[in-house]
C-alpha cells in the first residue's frame, strides 16, 4: 500500500559534499589569509633588505669641505641583487633636497621620525618599493641631513608571497582531501553496526520476536531500542491474540459440546413433547453461546483497538448519549427507565469512542440484569484529591458511572473487580464477570480505572474513571 519511499542520497556522500563545501569556503578564506600573510612576510623580508642597503649606503656618506661625498658600497647593491629579477633605484639627497647622486626621478620620502620609512612610487610603469633613511651631520661647513633612498621593483616579494600562498594551499588541499577521506571512512565504519543489525534481523527465525542483542554505539542504540520496542508490541499483540484464541476455544468448548450433545439427543428423540423441550434447551444454549461469542469478540476488538487505534479528544457526555440510544434500542421495555444525568458543560477525555461506549453499555446492562431499578447513567468531573500513601496528588478525573438500587458487587470483591471473573463463561453471573473484565481492559487502555462505591443514599455505583483533559486555554 505504501508508495516507494524516496531513496535519500548516501550519508557518506552528503557528509563528504558538506565537508567539501565547508572546506572550500574555509579554504578560500585561508588562502586569502595565507596570501595576506605571505604578502606581509615577503614584504617585511624584502623591506629589511632595502633597509640594510639604505643603511650601508648611509654609512658610506661623508662630508668634505661642505660637500657630500658618497662612496657607494657594492655590498649594498649586492644586497639588493638578492631580489634577482628586480630593478633597482637609488638617490642621495643633500639637506636642500638636491640630488647628490643617483636617479633624479626618485620621489622624496614623506616626513617621518622613524629610522627608516617605507613608501611606494611608479617607475617605468612598475610599482617600486622605496626605503629612506637619514644621516645627520653637524660639521662646521655642513650642518643638516643627508637623505638616502633605495628602492626596487616588487617582483621578488610578490613571487615569495605567492610561493607562501601556494604552499599553504597545497597543505590545505592535502589536509582537505585527507579530511574528506577520513570522514567517508568514519561514516562507513560508524554505520557498520547497522549492517550488523540487518544481519541479526535477517538471520533470525521469523517467529522470533525476542529483543535484539547487537552491541552498538549510543546513536545507533536508539534504532535498536525502537526495533525492540516495536517487536515487543508485536509480541504482546501476538500473545494477546494467542491468548484470546486459546481463551475463546476454551470457553466455547463446553457450550458447544453441550449443544452437540443436545442436538444429537434431539435427532434421536421420538417423543414430540420431549423433543420440544430438548429443542427449547438447544435454543437457550445457542442464545447463550451467541452472547458469549459477542462478548469474546467485543473483548478482542477492544484489546485490538487499545493497541491499534489512536485515541482522540471526545466529550464523555456524547458517549453517555450514545450508550442511552443503544440501550433504548436493545432493551425497549427497559429503555425508558435509564435516566441520563449529564452536566451542561463538556467533559473532555482522551480515548476511543467505540471502546468507551461498549464499556459503559456493559455497566448499564449489568445494572439492569443484576441490579434494581431505577438505573441512572451519569457523567461527572471529579476534582483531584491527595491519596494518603500514594505518590503525589491525583489529577482531576472524569467519570462515567452507572448507579442502581441493587446489592451490587460485594465489597470484598471491589479491589480486583475485573480479573476475578476474567476466565469464566456462559451463565449470567459469569456474564457480569466477563463484562467487568472488558470494562477493566478499557479502563486500563485509557489510563483510568474501574471503581465501585456506594452513594450517600445507599445506591451501588460502578464508575469508569478517566483522566480529565483540560480544554486548551482554561
Amino acid at each position: 500500500m505504501n508508495s516507494r519511499t524516496a531513496r535519500l542520497p548516501s550519508i557518506a556522500w552528503r557528509l563528504a559534499l558538506a565537508i567539501t563545501l565547508i572546506l572550500g569556503a574555509g579554504g578560500l578564506l585561508i588562502t586569502v589569509a595565507a596570501y595576506a600573510y605571505g604578502r606581509q612576510a615577503a614584504g617585511e623580508a624584502y623591506d629589511r633588505l632595502l633597509a640594510g642597503a639604505a643603511f650601508e649606503i648611509a654609512r658610506s656618506v661623508s662630508v668634505t669641505s661642505g660637500s657630500v661625498i658618497v662612496d657607494l658600497p657594492t655590498s649594498a647593491f649586492e644586497l639588493l641583487a638578492l631580489a634577482p629579477k628586480d630593478r633597482v633605484v637609488y638617490r642621495v639627497l643633500d639637506r636642500h633636497g638636491n640630488t647628490v647622486t643617483g636617479y633624479d626621478s626618485v620621489p622624496r620620502p614623506p616626513q617621518s621620525a622613524d629610522d627608516v620609512v617605507f613608501y611606494a612610487a611608479e617607475f617605468g610603469g612598475e610599482t617600486v618599493r622605496l626605503a629612506a633613511t637619514r644621516r645627520r651631520f653637524a660639521e662646521r661647513a655642513y650642518s643638516g641631513e643627508v637623505g638616502i633612498v633605495v628602492g626596487h621593483t616588487t617582483r621578488a616579494r610578490t613571487a615569495l608571497a605567492w610561493d607562501i600562498t601556494a604552499k599553504a594551499l597545497w597543505i590545505l588541499v592535502a589536509a582537505g582531501l585527507a579530511m574528506v577521506a577520513l570522514t567517508v571512512f568514519a561514516v562507513r565504519s560508524s554505520l557498520r553496526p547497522l549492517g550488523r543489525i540487518e544481519q541479526a534481523i535477517l538471520g533470525r527465525n521469523p517467529k522470533d520476536l525476542s529483543p535484539l542483542c547487537v552491541s552498538s554505539p549510543r546513536e545507533i542504540e536508539t534504532i535498536v531500542v525502537a526495533i525492540n520496542r516495536f517487536m515487543d508490541r508485536l509480541a504482546r499483540r501476538v500473545t494477546v491474540m494467542q491468548t484470546l484464541i486459546a481463551d475463546a476455544t476454551h470457553q466455547l468448548r463446553t457450550p458447544i459440546a453441550a449443544l452437540r450433545a443436545q442436538a444429537e439427543l434431539a435427532a434421536a428423540e421420538e417423543n414430540p413433547e420431549r423433543l420440544r423441550s430438548i429443542v427449547r434447551r438447544i435454543h437457550q444454549r445457542t442464545v447463550g453461546l451467541s452472547r458469549l461469542a459477542d462478548q469474546l469478540l467485543n473483548q478482542a476488538l477492544i484489546i485490538h483497538r487499545a493497541d491499534a487505534v489512536e485515541q482522540q479528544r471526545l466529550d464523555l457526555r456524547a458517549i453517555a448519549v450514545r450508550v442511552a440510544e443503544e440501550i433504548d434500542h436493545d432493551l425497549p421495555a427497559m429503555g425508558c427507565d435509564l435516566r441520563l444525568d449529564l452536566p451542561e458543560d463538556p467533559v473532555e477525555v482522551r480515548g476511543d469512542a467505540f471502546s468507551l461506549v461498549e464499556a459503559a453499555k456493559n455497566l448499564v446492562n449489568n445494572a439492569f440484569r443484576h441490579g434494581e431499578r431505577p438505573v441512572r447513567l451519569t457523567v461527572e468531573t471529579i476534582a483531584g484529591e491527595d491519596r494518603a500513601g500514594e505518590d503525589g496528588a491525583e489529577e482531576d478525573g472524569a467519570e462515567i458511572a452507572v448507579t442502581d438500587s441493587g446489592v451490587g458487587v460485594p465489597t470484598s470483591h471491589w479491589a480486583d473487580s475485573g480479573r476475578r471473573f476474567a476466565n469464566t463463561a456462559g451463565s449470567s453471573a459469569r456474564d457480569a464477570g466477563l463484562g467487568l473484565a472488558i470494562v477493566n481492559a478499557v479502563a486500563e487502555a485509557h489510563a483510568g480505572r474501574l471503581e465501585f462505591s456506594r452513594t450517600a443514599d445507599g445506591r451501588f455505583r460502578a464508575a469508569l474513571r478517566l483522566p480529565l483533559q483540560r480544554e486548551p486555554g482554561s
Partner: protein, 359 residues
C-alpha cells in the same frame, strides 16, 4: 697650389678616405638587400666586425630570407644611442651586443630592454641572465699577456701574487714595461679594474706595486698587444682574452696566461631594446648564439674559452679549474661602478696611484 694647402687638402682627403674605409669596416650586411627586404634585423655591437662576421654568416645561412645588418659601434656611443632611442620611444637597433656589461645593466635597469624566454635562455646560468632581458653570449677571461721571447718561463706570473712578487725588487726589468687599459678612456678597462677593486687587499697591493713600477695605462687592445709583441712592453695586465688568444694563435711572440688566484670572466651581453621594430629575428639570433652551432662559431673566434681539463676539451688557459673563475655577474651591483660620485672617487684613486696616459 700652396704646399700648406696641399697638405691640408691631402690630410682632409685622407681623413675622409679613412672615414670611408672605416665606415666600410664597421658595417656588415648579409642576406637580401637591406632596403628591399621584408624581414630585417639590425644588430649594433661593440665586437669587431672581423671576428664576428663568420658568426653572422652562419646565422644568415640558417635564415636566408632575413636581411641582416651589423654595425660596430664603440661601447659608450652604443650606450648613448640605445638610451636615446629608449627615452624617445623610437625604434633603433633590434639587438644590442656590448662588452660594456655595466652599461647594459643600466639600460635594463632603466626599463630599456624587452624580455625573451626560451629553452636556451633558461639554460643559462643565473649570472649570465638578468631578468630574461640581458644574456651573456661569450665567455672571455681577463688575461695577462707577455712577450714570450723576452720573459723567461720562470718569470711568467701565474697569479697576481706572482706578479706582485715579480715586480717587488727595486731594480727589476719590468719597471716601465707593464701596460694596461687606460680606465678613464676604456670602459672595459674601467670595468675590469673596478671589479678587481672588489678584491680589496689584492687590488691595493697590486696597484701599489704596479704604480711603483710606473705601469703604463694606455689605449686599445690592438696597440697594447702590438707593443707586447714588439717588446715595447713585456707584460700587459687585464687584457681581454679573446683578442689576445686570437693574436697568440698567429704570433708566436705573444704568450697568454690567466691568473689562477682568480680569473675574471666577461660575458658580452645581448639585449633587445624595448622599442625594437623586429624583435622576433633578434630573439632567433640570441637563441642561435646560445645553440651548439653558435657556441662553436664563437669558440672558433676565441670568444668562448672552454673550461675544464684538456680531455674534456677545455682550454689549457683555464686549467686552474672552475673555482678560480670569477664571472662578472649581471646584477645591479654593476650600477655602483657607474655612479657618478663613485666613479670620481675610483678614478681619483687610480690617478693618484697609476698616473695619467702613458707614452
Amino acid at each position: 697650389m700652396k704646399a700648406c694647402c696641399r697638405v691640408l687638402l691631402i690630410s682632409l682627403a685622407m681623413a675622409f678616405a679613412t672615414r670611408g674605409v672605416l665606415a666600410q669596416d664597421e658595417i656588415v650586411t648579409l642576406g637580401p638587400p637591406w632596403n628591399e627586404a621584408g624581414d630585417r634585423l639590425l644588430i649594433q655591437g661593440s665586437t669587431d666586425v672581423e671576428p664576428f662576421t663568420p658568426i653572422l654568416e652562419a646565422f644568415s645561412a640558417r635564415m636566408p630570407d632575413l636581411a641582416i645588418r651589423y654595425e660596430e659601434i664603440l661601447t659608450n656611443e652604443l650606450y648613448e644611442r640605445t638610451r636615446r632611442a629608449c627615452d624617445d620611444g623610437a625604434a633603433g637597433a633590434d639587438l644590442v651586443i656590448s662588452s660594456a656589461i655595466d652599461l647594459q645593466v643600466k639600460l635594463v635597469n632603466d626599463r630599456c630592454a624587452q624580455p625573451h624566454v626560451s629553452g636556451r635562455t633558461e639554460a643559462l646560468p643565473d649570472w649570465a641572465n638578468w631578468r630574461d632581458e640581458m644574456f651573456g653570449i661569450t665567455f672571455e677571461p681577463a688575461v695577462i699577456v707577455y712577450n714570450r721571447m723576452r720573459v723567461p718561463p720562470e718569470h711568467v706570473p701565474r697569479s697576481r701574487f706572482d706578479l706582485i712578487d715579480l715586480v717587488r725588487p727595486a731594480e727589476n726589468p719590468y719597471a716601465g714595461r707593464i701596460a694596461t687599459y687606460d680606465i678613464e678612456q676604456s670602459g672595459l678597462g674601467y670595468l675590469f679594474a673596478f671589479v678587481d677593486s672588489q678584491h680589496a687587499t689584492t687590488f691595493g697591493r697590486l696597484i701599489e706595486a704596479l704604480a711603483r713600477n710606473r705601469m703604463v695605462a694606455t689605449c686599445c687592445s690592438a696597440e697594447i698587444i702590438d707593443g707586447v709583441a714588439e717588446g715595447r712592453y713585456l707584460l700587459a695586465y687585464n687584457m681581454l682574452g679573446s683578442y689576445a688568444l686570437a693574436r697568440a694563435e698567429v704570433d708566436p711572440r705573444i704568450g697568454v696566461v690567466a691568473p689562477d688566484d682568480y680569473t675574471l670572466i666577461l660575458a658580452r651581453a645581448a639585449l633587445i631594446p624595448r622599442w625594437a621594430e623586429n624583435p622576433e629575428p633578434a630573439k632567433r639570433f640570441i637563441d642561435f648564439l646560445l645553440s651548439e652551432e653558435g657556441r662553436q662559431q664563437l669558440a672558433e673566434a676565441s670568444l668562448i674559452v672552454s673550461v675544464g681539463s684538456s680531455e674534456e676539451g677545455g682550454s689549457p688557459l683555464l686549467s686552474g679549474g672552475p673555482s678560480t673563475l670569477h664571472p662578472i655577474a649581471f646584477s645591479p651591483a654593476l650600477l655602483v661602478g657607474l655612479d657618478r660620485q663613485k666613479r670620481e672617487i675610483f678614478l681619483d684613486l687610480w690617478r693618484s696611484s697609476v698616473g695619467g696616459i702613458g707614452e
